[in-house]
């Protein structure tokens, strides 16, 4: 880390800064490549730091990944929506998570990128993201297929997010947020409200 001029000095501040530099590099690399292709050495190099320091701060590659890739649990408007408001609410939520520009976006992309190949990432997405929201969605959906419909809401959102941010399917990447909202909202409504 080359320290900037106007930043706070002192041992603690300096440490916190390099710690964050390592984490930022890790987030970026895990968001862009698979777990195995990211090496402690490559993260250290991007952070301008010795590989051993990464170990010293984060213990292991696994723990570094855990710190870099996660699903931020901010206020989720979809958890307090009724049936009519659910489609718009889940769209709001997913856009907020994936289309921001901060570290949270990269943490989410890193989690999603690895959820099919990294067991722990897969477990988090399945159990702590999809299933958790599924439980609430099912309760407002009701009916015999409530659980399935709720799970499929998650599946649809996952598919769209992956197409747009991970696989980068051109037509989905180039679409404006409003277009996606306009097209997807009725689709999700059909999913949560069934025939009626």
């Amino acid at each position: 880390m080359t320290p900037a001029d106007d930043e706070p000095v002192g041992r603690d501040a300096r440490r916190r800064r390099t710690e964050e530099a390592i984490l930022a590099a890790a987030r970026e690399q895990f968001a862009g490549s698979g777990y195995a292709d990211v090496t402690i050495r490559s993260v250290a190099a991007a952070a301008g730091v010795d590989p051993a320091l990464v170990m010293q701060y984060y213990g292991s590659k696994e723990r570094l990944f855990g710190a870099a890739a996660h699903w931020p649990e901010e206020a989720d408007s979809a958890l307090s929506a009724d049936r009519a408001g659910l489609p718009a609410a889940v769209l709001d939520d997913i856009f907020e998570r994936f289309e921001g520009q901060g570290q949270d976006r990269e943490a989410v992309v890193a989690l999603m990128r690895n959820c099919l190949t990294h067991p722990e990432a897969g477990r988090i997405v399945r159990d702590e993201v999809i299933c958790e929201r599924q439980a609430h969605a099912a309760s407002v959906i009701g009916g015999p297929d409530a659980e399935l419909r709720a799970a499929l809401v998650g599946a649809v959102l996952m598919g769209v997010a992956m197409s747009r941010h991970l696989l980068e399917v051109p037509a989905v990447v180039e679409a404006q947020q409003d277009d996606l909202r306009r097209v997807l909202e009725p689709v999700l409504r059909q999913l949560v409200e069934g025939g009626g």
Copy 2:
């Protein structure tokens, strides 16, 4: 390879059989784990063969992956459907590909499993699977959002397939094919037919 008793003998047949044993082991492992976690050695061990033989037959790990993970181009009923028949047709197609029990199913799962972390697998899914079918779907959908809607059909199917066969979200795994068809068909219809 331990040869079975009732199988054809001869040099060629034997070779073809071990070649297929290697490929079968590779398909299974690439379908179940990420590219990096599958090793030439583990594939060779599962096939009961020396690692060097895998190299001799397939040239490199990359080529072995290419042979094991692909999207079989069989007759695709979705390519000859009109707008009204598209939802049912794409569902038929995806069920046929993912719910069979042969080598094709594993080849497809292997491709999907790695499409977020393996660049070539990602390219195939994006360009040769999604975009190709998107082109046809868009032509039968029509309207200003045709391309986007067509791409989103692919996104929805991908999300469902991943939930069911890769991430294994319980509610989606346990659902019967008929349930999925019944719930998803109107959803896809809403997507391809828009407001009308």
